[in-house]
Every structure is written in structure tokens, then in C-alpha cells.
Amino acid sequence: MHIPDGFINGITSLGAGAGALGALNACLRRLPRIDPLVPLTGLAGAFIFAFQMLNFPVAAGTSGHLVGAALAAILLGPARAVVTLSLVTLLQALVLADGGISALGLNVLNLGVVAPLAGGATYQVVVYSFPRRRASVASAAVVAGLVSVLAAAMALVAEYALGGNHAVPVRTVLTAMVGAHVVVGLAEGLITSAVVATVLRVRPDLVRGARGLAPVTQTGGRPTWGITVAGVLGAAVLLALLLPRSSADPDAFTSVATDQGLVTTAPAADSPVAERNASRKASTSSTIVAGVLGTMLVFGAGTGLFTALRRVGNR
């Protein structure tokens, strides 16, 4: 979905444009200055362009269309994906009149920078936490597709929160966007995975994200602690930044549960976590503590689950 003119105010659009230009510049610098780059990136861009025109059936009669950000990030590498998708978004605005001219910076940031970078980063994290072989690529691609779409939607919500006309509360927009884009993102992830799997079968050398992965089933390599620590830290920082803003009122699930009388027991009053549910005016520090504890819990559970799965798989 491309943002039209008049949706987000000028200052936010300008800021997003500056951010997009900066990211684009950084990615351009990372590209090698050898010449197959122009025709190959151009052809890949034409492919993504055509791919976005491809409608796929969702259910009885309705269809959705794809972004291809995670796909580009996996096939071409994140830096080239950013350049490719930004150019596609620019061309769509100028030649096909998709999205507003004054919102070009926003659209390039969301679809051309945030989506491929989020997809690429997620892919890297997932593929390296699995055993390093090609079979891991398919599952990593699903997650990367989902995350790339969700990240673009989240970026839009953030821009709306910063510079939208708040006729509709940010929280409503957030809920609607997440709800819709989880479904869209899952579809995107599955399709991305299927496309990558096809390319991997026929021309594995073209999948940049699968370089250095063993083609046959082998026992996995060493866990990459750097990426793991960076991921957990990143999640904690995000929580610290986002949670104080989001927890001013109970989230949709909690409020629904309370309204329906599903939640009757208050958590133990002496734990720092308790405040999050007990009081609407939760203090910032205890919110962050709750968030970090939650992250650690999820991280621990996930690690345990995947370790167990790997043991079973290796047997």
C-alpha cells in the first residue's frame, strides 16, 4: 500500500525522505563498483516490479499482491535489495502514479528501506540460528517475508503517529494494521519461501543469502553468539523505547479479557511485573523491566524449543 498525498504531514515526510536518502546512500556505498551491477540490478528490479503486479489468490475471489522485499534481500543481499526496491518505488510514483509525490520519501523509506532491511536481517538471524544447511533457508524465508511486511506496516504506523492527522487514534490504526498485515505477511512469507526454494533448486549460486550454506544435510555449525546477543539487545532497546508509549492503557487483548470477565485474578502485588496489569498508570521503569523479562522468557523458551528440535532432527 503506497501512501497518498495529504496522509502524513510535510515535516514527517521530509524527515522520512532524508532518512531514506541516507540509507540509500549507505547501501550504494556498500555495493561493489563493478559493471555487471547495472544490468543485473536493473533486471532484478524489473523482476520485482513485475512480481509486485502478480496477484495471487487468497480465498474465494479475492487476491493480494506481493512486496518482494524479503525476496530481494535473500536473493540479492540487503544492500542491493534496498537500492532495487527504492528505485522500483520511485518509478511507480513517477511513471505509474502509485503513491503521492509528497509522500515519496515515506514510501521509499517503508517499502524500499525498512522492508528489505528488516527482511534481510531477520533472514540472517534465523538462518544462522538453524543448522547451516540449505534446508534452513525455506523456513528463514517464511519468517523474513512476514517480518518485512510487518516492519513496513509498523513504519507506516510510526509515521502516522508522528505526522498523521489523528482523527483515528494511533492505537486503532496499529491494531488494524498489525491484524491485516499478519495475514498478508504470512502469505508473503510462504510465497517468498517457495520462490527462493525454486531458485535454490535450479541455480543455487543465484541465492546470495544461501552462500556458505552446506547443500547436504550436515550437523550444524557453531552458534553465532554475536548475532544472538545483538538480537536480544535490539529487542530490549526496542521494548524500552516503545513500551512506555504503548502501555498507557491496557492492550486490546487485556481489555477484551477484562471486559469479558476472563481475567479476574490480579497478579501478586509485590512483584515489579504486577504494576503493568494492576495499574493503568504503570511507571516507565517497571514497564521496561516487565518487557525485558518477557523478552528473556520468550528468548529462553524459543532457544529451548529449537535446541530440542535440533536434537530430534540430528538423531
Binding site: 497518498p4 551491477l37 544490468p39 533486471l43 524489473a46 528505485l87 522500483v88 518509478l91 502514479a97 520462490v195
Partner: protein, 254 residues
């Protein structure tokens, strides 16, 4: 999906607007959109004048108003969200036609619909009077990095070809009984997309080799365009200057 999707917006004529240098058109177009966005949303008369300006420009470019209207409806799905705003919005409620809707929501919706339509209108006029390669030449003239315009040039040149590749595969699938009505069949499309990607990449490699064989060393030739004359500049600046004046007035006269 049509074979000529990239050129669907182009109208093959030779008006003064068609002859205007692309870089001038690009700047005028962007400037106009920024001026429209900066106009106060409550200034209905000024936005109406902006709409008339877009209409006059379209006529000057030899485009009929019907053509403009048809192209504008293509933008409709993108502003669909705006139509939900009056119903979802909070704040003071007003009664319109027996329904209670939110007043700030209605204004927000109006803001998006009006400005998105005006912005779309002027881009449609530009796209209809400027062939896509000229848009790129214009960007190049505006000091856009050569790498970006050259790559975008390849994208536009091969887009039709690749869309055709997709279409041929779809026809082949349909003739073998593919119906594509439920989500599972999307995987068939996905694997055909994988095939198209491989073909694209291999085509890129072949094209690059052919280019090297013809002396390509990393720079594409830039089509020569004459510099815009003073008169052209004056004509092109007229539209955005008027819109800027209207935007300024809309804030002065409340």
C-alpha cells in the same frame, strides 16, 4: 496485467506540454504537489481552483478530461482508507444524511481525498505527456546519480518483457488445467516466479556480455535534450507558482 503496462499512462501526441523538457516538468510537478499539500484543507475554493488548474494543464497537453478521470479512478484503492475515517474517527460527531460521523474524521478524509486526487492528477498529466525514458533523462538532468537512472532504465526497458514471461507461464498453466482459486495454488505461481527470476538473471548476464562486446565500460549514453528555453521555463513555472500563491493565501485569509 497487460503487455504494455509501463506505457499505459502515455498519450502519444505532440502538444506544447509533450515538448516541454522533462526535467522542467518534473520540478514543476513536484513543486505543484508540495504547494497543494501545503494548502489549508478548509480552503475549499482554493483547492477547487487547484483542480481547475490541473484540468487546464491536462487540456493543454491534449488530454481529454475523460482520460484524466479514468486514470484518476486507478488511484481509488489507495485512498480507500480515507473513506473509513469518518466512521472510525473520534471527537465531535455530526449528523450527515441520517448517519452520525466524526467531524475531524470527515476533515481528515477530505484532506486525503482532495490532495491525493490533485497530486495524482498532476502526475497523471506528467506521465501522459512524458515517455518513461524521458522521465529518467529528466532525473539525470537534475543530478540524479547515474547508477540509479541507468539501473532504472533497465528496469523500464525489460519490465514489459518480464511481465510477458509471467503471462506466458500463466497461459501455459491455465491450458494445463490450473485454476488458481485457493491459496494453495499460489505455490504453483511462486515456483513459476522463481523460474522467471532465473530467466531474468540469465538475461541480465547475457545483456551485460553483449554490452561489453559493444564497448560498454560502465556508463550508459545519455539521450541529448536541448536546454529549456526561457519561455518554456516561464510556462512551466506558471502552474506551481499559482498553486503556491493559493497555498499562501489559504493561510492568510482564514
Amino acid at each position: 496485467m497487460s503487455a504494455t503496462h509501463t506505457h499505459a499512462f502515455l498519450s502519444h501526441q505532440n502538444s506544447a506540454l509533450h515538448r516541454l523538457a522533462p526535467q522542467v516538468k518534473l520540478v514543476a510537478c513536484i513543486w505543484f504537489v508540495l504547494a497543494v499539500v501545503a494548502t489549508r484543507r478548509e480552503a475549499l475554493a482554493f483547492l477547487a481552483i487547484d483542480a481547475m488548474l490541473v484540468g487546464i494543464t491536462a487540456l493543454a497537453g491534449g488530454l481529454s478530461l475523460g482520460f484524466l478521470a479514468r486514470r484518476l479512478t486507478l488511484g481509488l484503492p489507495f485512498i480507500l482508507f480515507a473513506f473509513l475515517l469518518p466512521f472510525l474517527g473520534g471527537g465531535p460527531q455530526i449528523e450527515v444524511g441520517g448517519m452520525t460521523i466524526s467531524e475531524p474524521g470527515l476533515w481528515a478524509a477530505w484532506n486525503i481525498v482532495a490532495k491525493a486526487t490533485l497530486g495524482l492528477g498532476v502526475v497523471v498529466v506528467m506521465a501522459a505527456t512524458t515517455p518513461p525514458p524521458d522521465v529518467l533523462a529528466g532525473l539525470e538532468r537534475l543530478r540524479f546519480p547515474h547508477f540509479a537512472t541507468a539501473t532504472a532504465g533497465f528496469m523500464l526497458r525489460y519490465l514489459d518483457l518480464i511481465v510477458d514471461d509471467f503471462r506466458r507461464i500463466r497461459i501455459a498453466m491455465a491450458s494445463r488445467g490450473y485454476r488458481g482459486r485457493w491459496f494453495g495454488s499460489a505455490f504453483a505461481l511462486a515456483s513459476s516466479a522463481g523460474t522467471v527470476f532465473i530467466r531474468c538473471y540469465e538475461r541480465g548476464e547475457r545483456v551485460h556480455q553483449a554490452m561489453v562486446a559493444r564497448g560498454y565500460v560502465g556508463n550508459m549514453p545519455i539521450p541529448a535534450h536541448p536546454s529549456p528555453s526561457r519561455q518554456q521555463l516561464m510556462t512551466a513555472c506558471g502552474l506551481p507558482t499559482l498553486a503556491t500563491g493559493l497555498a499562501a493565501l489559504s493561510w492568510l485569509i482564514k
